[in-house]
């Protein structure tokens, strides 16, 4: 089955004038229907490619004006792409501009009918779900009062309730999870999780990275209309926060050139490496029990990961993190240590840190070692290498398991 949302080479160009001033026939006639359009264009989105697999929750992050909402609208079928195409399959429910389309002078009841139908339901389907919509929004007492008499929270609740009760197969959410009180927010989250379980594909736009990290399976970071990063949520979020941090520190990370490492892998900024580079990871060694570099190990063997780092200037209490993950991104093992754990406060110059696993009972397969050095509060990365270093576990069982600990079957049979 193909993905419910496929975005291919999408670009969107906007006329700058449309936001400034409306054109009039008078002006058009006076200027002879010519209009200087030379500088009136800008690209809101450029060459965006991604796919959202069925049943996944996908986060779109980026700063204001990065094109997130434009992208979400285009996916919702509002406006047309300048280049490229968007393929969607399934009924789309949109939590965008909540409350738009709700008329202040009409009652809650009338608004439910109108918006239910606008959202794609038949009138009798709305009728059937009416009670559910009202009770979810907790507005039983006020349903026949005009919409304008509702508090903002009540209005949002009603709008949210209508959309979630239309059984969307694709749900587009734009920064609206902060609806109503905490209790209602929890209800919204529960409902979103329920949608996820039912196989609904969800696209969430936000600049709250915590939300994305907690909810989404995959994420995409849009920067000035282009895809800056796309992939597993953790990586994209970390990359985004790091970049935001780097920017505030006015450090240019782009100047780092790509670096080829021993096994032929290329280390490239913003691809598999990112950070503010206040500290750098110079080299990473994966060592076997004989302290020799190894790419193939046996299950249960000892493994040491060694990091060589350098800090051109003083860095306070950095944290080192090492993650071993399988090829599909499942984290098998995660460890971190702060310099403070070793009784030191700052690092300056170069050094070495190593982590020894006295035994690693992983099942057969390929594993990645992701290494990073982080700011002392984990707010961003100084340097992070993602899916650069790897090793293979050669021997042992290969079921669908991750672990292959020492094991022994015992069998006894009793006969009467």
């Amino acid at each position: 089955m193909s993905s419910p949302i496929i975005v291919e080479n999408l670009s969107k160009q906007f006329h700058r004038y449309s936001s400034e001033k409306k054109w009039t026939i008078q002006e058009a006639v006076l200027s002879g229907f010519k209009r200087d359009k030379s500088q009136d264009y800008f690209w809101a989105l450029r060459d965006v490619n991604f796919e959202v697999p069925a049943g996944k929750m996908f986060g779109l992050i980026g700063r204001n004006g990065a094109g997130k909402s434009t992208l979400l609208r285009l996916i919702g079928g509002v406006g047309e792409p300048t280049e490229g195409k968007i393929l969607t399959s399934g009924r789309i429910g949109a939590l965008i501009d909540l409350g738009a389309g709700y008329h202040p002078d009409l009652t809650g009841r009338e608004n439910i009918y109108i918006n239910g139908v606008i959202s794609g339901l038949l009138r009798k389907e709305v009728e059937k779900r009416f009670d559910e919509i009202v009770s979810f929004a907790e507005l039983e007492e006020f349903i026949d009062s005009p919409f304008r008499t509702y508090s903002t929270g009540m209005q949002m609740r009603l709008a949210f309730s209508v959309v979630v009760n239309t059984d969307p197969e694709i749900l587009l959410i734009d920064e609206v999870l902060a609806v109503g009180d905490l209790n209602f927010q929890q209800k919204c989250m529960d409902r979103i999780n329920l949608f996820k379980e039912k196989g609904c594909t969800i696209l969430l736009v936000t600049h709250d990275t915590n939300l994305v990290a907690n909810l989404c399976d995959e994420a995409l970071w849009l920067n000035k209309g282009r895809v800056a990063a796309c992939g597993p949520t953790d990586m994209v979020v970390m990359q985004y926060t790091t970049a935001m941090q780097t920017e505030t520190q006015k450090r240019t990370s782009e100047s780092k050139t790509a670096k080829v490492i021993d096994d032929g892998n290329v280390l490239e900024v913003n691809k598999n490496r990112f950070g503010s580079f206040e500290m750098e990871i110079q080299d990473v060694h994966i060592l076997n029990s004989d302290n020799l570099p190894a790419t193939h190990l046996n299950s249960g063997e000892q493994l040491t990961i060694e990091l060589e780092f350098c800090a051109p200037e003083i860095v306070t209490e950095p944290i080192f993190g090492i993650t071993i993950s399988s090829e599909d991104g499942t984290v098998c093992c995660e460890a971190s240590a702060s310099v403070a754990d070793f009784g030191q406060q700052r690092v300056n110059g170069s050094g070495k840190i190593s982590l020894e696993f006295s035994r690693l009972d992983l099942a057969r397969g390929k594993y990645f070692v992701d290494v990073g050095i982080y700011e002392k509060e984990w707010t961003y990365a100084y340097d992070y290498h993602w899916q650069v270093y790897s090793f293979n576990i050669g021997e042992g069982n290969r079921n669908n398991s991750l672990l292959d600990p020492p094991q022994q079957w015992k069998f006894e049979s009793y006969q009467d």
Binding site: F14, H15, S18, K22, W23, T24, I25, Q26, A28, R73, I75, G76, G77, V78, G79, E80, G90, R91, I92, A94, I96, D97, A100, G101, H103, D105, L106, E110, Y113, I114, V117, I118, S119, G120, L122, R123, L172
Partner: protein, 257 residues
């Protein structure tokens, strides 16, 4: 987007949008529905005073004659005026994912058609008071409604997207409609136009329409079928072009609003 032109769905959507327009019109006014009748009635009063007393036109059953013209013209005029707002005033609907913008012109014409229908009993009362018998020719009225609906709608499909681009369309439209009012036989008879100008005069489809209504209502005869069928064909052609333009402009609506 996927099922927007599905018949049952379109019917429901139309119904909700028309009901919304009508409810909104009357929600906060004490006089309610009377408002939509007041305008043609006031016009009737003024024009009737002028052309019966100040400049007598000598048309039999002038009040009924005039009111027929006024109601038909009012439906046409208010629809076209509303057309300028069909897209612009529904910004939030246009920006709803999957909303079929093409339905809005239909809503505009239909809403005003309902106001027209609400005023129709008054017109029938005029007929009865004037002693004009209600004949079986009245059965032709629905056909006239359809023709006028199609013709008006075809123009709305032109006007709505133009107003999105040029926001002074409504002023220009105001002038054109004022001109149209005098160039249509609303308060005078089409036969008052000198014969050598008749050919040009009858290019205005409203001449055919208003005369057909009068034939049915006041003379109890069937209207001339050929000119009406021609009007249907013209309306269809306009509609095809207008809808084409509308569809091409539609992708920009969201940005230009």
């Amino acid at each position: 987007m996927q099922k927007s032109w599905n018949l049952a769905y379109t019917r429901d959507l139309l119904r909700e949008l028309i009901m919304r327009d009508i409810k909104l019109r009357y929600k906060r006014s004490v006089l309610g529905i009377i408002w939509s009748l007041l305008n043609p009635l006031m016009q009737l009063l003024i024009l009737s005073l002028i052309f019966r007393i100040v400049l007598p036109l000598d048309i039999p059953n002038y009040n009924t004659f005039l009111f027929t013209g006024l109601l038909v013209w009012t439906w046409f005029q208010t629809s076209l005026y509303a057309a300028t707002g069909a897209i612009v005033d529904n910004r939030e609907l246009i920006r709803r994912p999957g909303f079929p913008a093409g339905i809005l012109p239909v809503v505009t014409v239909a809403t005003n058609f309902i106001h027209f229908l609400l005023a129709l009993p008054i017109l029938l009362a005029f007929l009865v008071i004037s002693g004009i018998p209600l004949s079986s020719a009245l059965l032709a009225l629905p056909f006239l409604f359809v023709v006028q609906f199609l013709f008006t709608l075809s123009l709305v499909y032109f006007i709505a997207p133009i107003h999105v681009r040029f926001r002074d369309t409504q002023y220009l439209l105001g002038i054109v409609l004022l001109l149209g009012f005098y160039l249509s036989p609303v308060f005078y008879e089409a036969s008052a136009i000198p014969p050598r100008y008749q050919y040009i005069y009858r290019l205005n489809p409203m001449v055919t329409l208003i005369e057909s209504y009068r034939t049915v209502l006041m003379q109890g005869r069937m209207p001339g079928i050929y000119s009406l069928l021609l009007l249907v064909i013209i309306s269809m052609a306009f509609m095809a072009i207008g809808y084409g333009i509308f569809n091409r402009a539609r992708s920009h609506f969201a940005e230009e609003l």
